[in-house]
Structures are given as C-alpha cells and as structure tokens.
Symmetry: C2
DNA sequence: GTTAGCACTCGACGATCAAGAGTGCTAATA
DNA sequence: TATTAGCACTCTTGATCGTCGAGTGCTAAC
C-alpha cells in the first residue's frame, strides 16, 4: 500500500497537472514536464501500477489517466505541502472583509460572499449555532389580543421571533412581568438547558402560565433543533458551472438541486463543527449528487468557543492546499470580527 | 395593428402549441390540429403576414415559426381567457399550505416553496416590507459592557436586530427605562416616521442619549431602505434548467447568476407591489440576462394593506393563464394566513 | 379568396475518414 | 534487472459529405 518515492512523485505530478487542466494526463507529458528524468515508457509502467493500486483511472483506453478519489485522499493526507497565503492575498481578503457591518447575519452573509469570490468555488457558512449559545434576554411582546411575540436574545446577538398564544386574562403588564422573571431566571443558560427546564419552571407557581411556558419551550426547541437549513448562507453556487466537470447539463442540474435545499449542507457543516478542518473527497460524500465534488470545511469561534463552521465546495480536483489556507485565514478573520462585534466578556 | 378574427385564431393556436412543445410550429400542424378548416397554404400566407406584423419569428428559413414577445403581450392582454383553478388544484395547494407554522419568515419560505412546486417554474416571494409596517415595541438588550442589541418588533412580528454602542454610564436599568419610553412614544408609528423622528426625540431631555438615539435611528433607516435582497425568498431556481430554452449551458449560467444576487429581483418585486398583478415579458425585462424569460407577480396583504408581493419566473412561453390563476389563489391564501397569524386589530 | 402543387432551403442526423494522443507489449540496451 | 526505443493498436475528436424531412414561398388553377 505504501508507494515508493518515485511513484509518489509521479502521482503528485499527475495530480498537480490535473488540478490545473482537468484533462487526462499521458505518460509523455509527465516525462517532459517534470525533472524526474525518466522516459515516457518507464512512467507508463509506473502509471499502470498506480492504476492497479487504485490511484489512477482511465476514462477510456488510449486516453491519459486521471487521479482517483483515493489519490486525492493520499495527496491531502501525505503529499500536499501546507501553504500559507502571501501577504498580498491576506490583505486582499482583509480588504474585502473590511466593510463595516453590525449584525451577525450580515457578517455571515459577507463571509460567504468573500469566500466564494476568493476561491472561485461555491461557499457556505453556517451561522452561529443556537444550541451552544447563551441566553441573554427573553421578551414577550403583545401583538394582538391573544397573541404575543417571543423574542430571544443571545450573547451572539441573534434573535429569533415566534408567535405564541397567550391566555385571555394576560395583559401587557403581565407579559412584561413574566418576561422579566424569565430573563432573571434563564439568563446565561445555554438555550438547550433553558428549553428543557422552562416547561417545569413555574410548576410551583401560578398555574395559568403553564400552557404558555410549554409553548415557549416548544418554540425554543423548534428553533434550536428544527431544520435549520435557513442558517446556512450559500454563495457562488453558479461558480461550479465554470468548471468543465459540470459542463454536462444533467450534472449541473443535479448538483444545483442538491445544494438548493440546504439541509444536506447544514448537516455537513454541523458535523464538521467538531473538527478544525475537514476534507471530504468525492465518493466520501454521502449524497449521490455530490460524488463529483469535494468539500473542505473549517470552524470559527466566538472568544474561545467554536460556534460555527464554513466550507468550500469544488470539483474533486480542487486546489486543496490553497483552499485550506484560505479557510484557515478566513476562519481567523471571522472569529476575530465576531468576537469584536460581540465583545464578549472574558470568562 | 388590430388583427382580424382569423389571424387571432391562428396566432392563438400557435401560442398554445408552442407553450406546450417549445418547438417551432409549421402551417401544416395548425391546419390539421385545429378545426379552423383552412388548408396549410392559406395558413402559410396568414403566418407570413403575422411575421411581417412582428408577432411571429422564424428561427431560420424552413423552420416553423415561434411567437414573439409582442405576440405574448397581445395574448396576455387580449386573447387569453382568465381561468380559475379547479377545486382539485385549490385543495392540492391548500394542502401543501397547511403545515402549521408560526413565524412570518417560515410562512414566506413555505409560500415560495409551494409556488415553485405547483408551477414548476422559479418562484420568489418578497417578505413584508418594513417601511410600511407599524412599530410595536423597541427593546434594548445589553450584551456586553459597551454594546446593546436593538430589537424592533412590528405588527407583522418581524424583528430585526442590530448592535449599537452605548455610553459608558448606561446600565441595564437605564436601557430598560429607555426602551420603555421609546416604546411608549413610537408604538403604532410607521417605521419610516419613527426612524425620521427618533433622532430628535430627546432634544429636550438628557443630552447623553443623543448619540445613542442617532445610531438607533441610523440602524432603523438602514434596515428599512438598505439593500434588502435578503428579504427575497427564492425557490426552484433549478426548475428553469428543465426547460429546453435553458439547455444551453451559457444561458443557464447567465440566468442563474442573474437571480443569485437577488437585488434585481427585489427591485422587480418592490415595484410590483403597487399593482395587484404584473406581467413582464421577455425583452420587457430590464436585465439582459432575463430577456428570455417572463415574470408574473401578484401582491398579498395583511388585513387590507398590500404589504408584499410574490412572483413566478419562467420561460416566455410560460402558461400565463395558469400562473395568473395560481398567483391569485396563493396571494389570497397567503394574505389570509398572515392576517390570521397576526390577527391584527381592525382599524 | 382559397388551395394544390412544386421547387427550394436549411438543419438534423448518420456514416465515413484522417489526425492525434496515448497505451501496451516486445525486444534491445545499459 | 531496470530502463528505454519502437511499433502496432485503440479510441476520441473534428471535419466532410450526403440524405432525409420539415417547412416555406411562389405560381397557377379552382
């Protein structure tokens, strides 16, 4: 399974070339374009071996060979050298990033935009995840006789509003009072806990609030765990159409459909939130429609807590080294920006 | 300019057929498929006239003819008979619509989804527009020592959060007090007015609030008039790729890029909010990339006030009658749903 | 005014062919 | 024994060409 030095060198040359050209590579090309000093015949033999080992594929006889997913995996894990961005690139990104914004949503949106523009791939950014976020304030606002709006404010500044029914005998004053009590009691609790304990909060007190608290708890829960496809910001979906891999209309359609409902992407990003970086290559993707592309993700933080993640979707022959470098840099930029925006107290 | 009965009949036959098949129609087809009782030769002459008048186009000699944008315009204005949905279709839509939701955003999202699924075209829904909406509640929530979150609650339940700097000497108590004063003063005012008068609200009172009020006014203003591309919910963008008009990859890419940044769509919908229905056909679109498609919009209301709009984007040969019927029905459904959701007091 | 008839046009489709890129195998070579 | 040169073979790509069929436009007859 472990390849000798020469095979690695050849494989790397093939991958490097294929990343640039997207065209099958022949033995002669390698022999000429590298300083490896071997004739095409020798390389042909090596390539034949590499194919047998599953690292190369032949679209058809008498075409050159292209790297397999297995090859990319090896490349990412072992061969690829980690690069840093040049100061130029860094400042270019920072510049794009510098438009002042003051809402978390805007920051997320902007990040996605920058990411897709810098990489020329499709990008996605997961908004800070509610469940690991701390509650700051609960406010019930009357909007009609029997209905009120629940406003949830967290330490990341994210609010979600939902409408709940209120008992007939509950007026603005009572709502205000209840808001205050809830805020006092649940402040600084994680949304998860808050949701769990809210239902039972008042059991020892006035019974008429029971129903209300229950539905508020439900609202919270729904917000936390419900399909949060909405919290994925997608950008540059059409960038993918610029790559020859997707010059087939059916493929393009399948890909675009797959990412249009963001559920799958949400799951990927949510899972990826545990690791600083993830790389998922071609067939490693669970979705059939994503078998031809790779996904690279990175996390970002507020303060010290990883709180969300972002990713780049490109063809399997994407420039992994570059994308990883960009994601690393942007993860830091975003973390910094959010942390400043929130100015969270140190704990 | 006015065509005789027979020309109209032929034109209608051509349009009807073309809407179904997307293929150029020949004279013989018309002669056989309609009960018009004329030979192909006669029809050929009529078609020649129609082409001269600008209602038909020939992709190339010896192909059949296809309707021009002008023909569609005539069709929509004069020929087309308004249809109603069958009870079956109505109930099918209502069924899709019946999943209970309790946040305005969700309703909008769902509407877009239903609309694209029922029509098989691309759909968009503009969320209720903030500026014509009434303020219900303002809440300043402290999130760190020098920053607070402004939560704006309106009668449509929509909140927007933004972060503002607060003076050093302002603690939670003061924020709460200020929130209450602002709410008392600005409640039931349209956001526009509120934003305008907020800056000067406290001129006669404590001066240290001045800066804060000013930035809140800015925030409000920004929310109201800023690029509200975000408030457009898009659905079924890839539906368009199923039509032969977009089997050309470049066209598909251009179209998808044009709608990806929703700014253009936002403008269309915002302008369309004034009229109950609008139909924009092919070259009537201002954007070059939309010259091959048509847009049909309708408005929806909360109570009696038109508060937003929705639209369908399809190829110029879209089924206008059907789309208009669907939009009409869905506009009513949505209005009803929102009105119930908000249960706005009668005025 | 309508229609039958006919020559003409043009794109779609399939077959054929040459060129070119690349392989795999064999035999010669260092 | 590892490498290389040589060569036959395979397969795609692009160009060319002829055929087919749909459809038109025109003319002359009804």
């Amino acid at each position: 399974m472990d390849l000798d030095e020469r095979k690695l060198q050849i494989l790397q040359a093939i991958i490097d070339d294929y990343i640039l050209t997207a065209a099958p590579i022949g033995s002669r090309t390698i022999s000429k374009r590298t300083d490896i000093g071997l004739s095409s015949a020798t390389i042909r033999n090596e390539m034949s071996d590499l194919e047998e080992l599953g690292f190369l594929e032949q679209p058809h006889t008498s075409a050159g060979r292209i790297p397999s997913d297995k090859a990319y995996r090896l490349y990412v894990n072992n061969i690829m050298k980690k690069t840093k961005l040049t100061p130029d690139e860094c400042s270019a990104i920072s510049k794009l990033f510098s438009r002042r914004v003051d809402a978390v949503e805007d920051v997320i949106r902007q990040t996605a935009w920058v990411l897709s523009n810098v990489t020329h791939y499709t990008s996605m950014v997961l908004a800070p995840q509610l469940k690991s976020v701390k509650l700051k304030h609960i406010q019930l606002v009357p909007i009609s006789e029997r209905k009120a709006l629940v406003v949830i404010v967290t330490n990341t500044g994210i609010t979600r509003d939902s409408i709940v029914h209120i008992p007939a005998d509950m007026d603005a004053y009572h709502l205000e009072r209840l808001s205050r009590m809830l805020t006092a009691h649940f402040a600084n609790m994680r949304l998860e806990e808050a949701s769990r304990s809210m239902e039972h909060f008042f059991s020892e007190e006035v019974n008429s609030y029971r129903g209300l608290l229950k539905s508020m708890s439900e609202v919270l829960n729904q917000r936390i765990s419900g399909s949060q496809a909405r919290s994925v910001e997608l950008s540059g979906a059409t960038n993918m159409l610029n790559y020859p891999e997707y010059s087939d209309l059916d493929k393009a359609r399948a890909f675009l459909s797959a990412i249009e409902t963001k559920d799958y992407l949400f799951n990927m990003l949510a899972n990826a939130s545990k690791l600083e970086f993830t790389v998922t290559i071609g067939s490693e993707n669970e979705s059939m429609d994503m078998k031809d592309c790779s996904v690279v993700t990175a996390t970002y933080k507020i303060g010290e807590d990883p709180i969300g993640s972002m990713g780049v979707i490109g063809p399997t022959r994407m420039n992994y080294a570059k994308v990883l470098a960009i994601l690393g840099f942007m993860g830091n930029s975003l973390s910094e920006m959010l942390t400043n925006l929130i100015e969270e107290e140190k704990r």
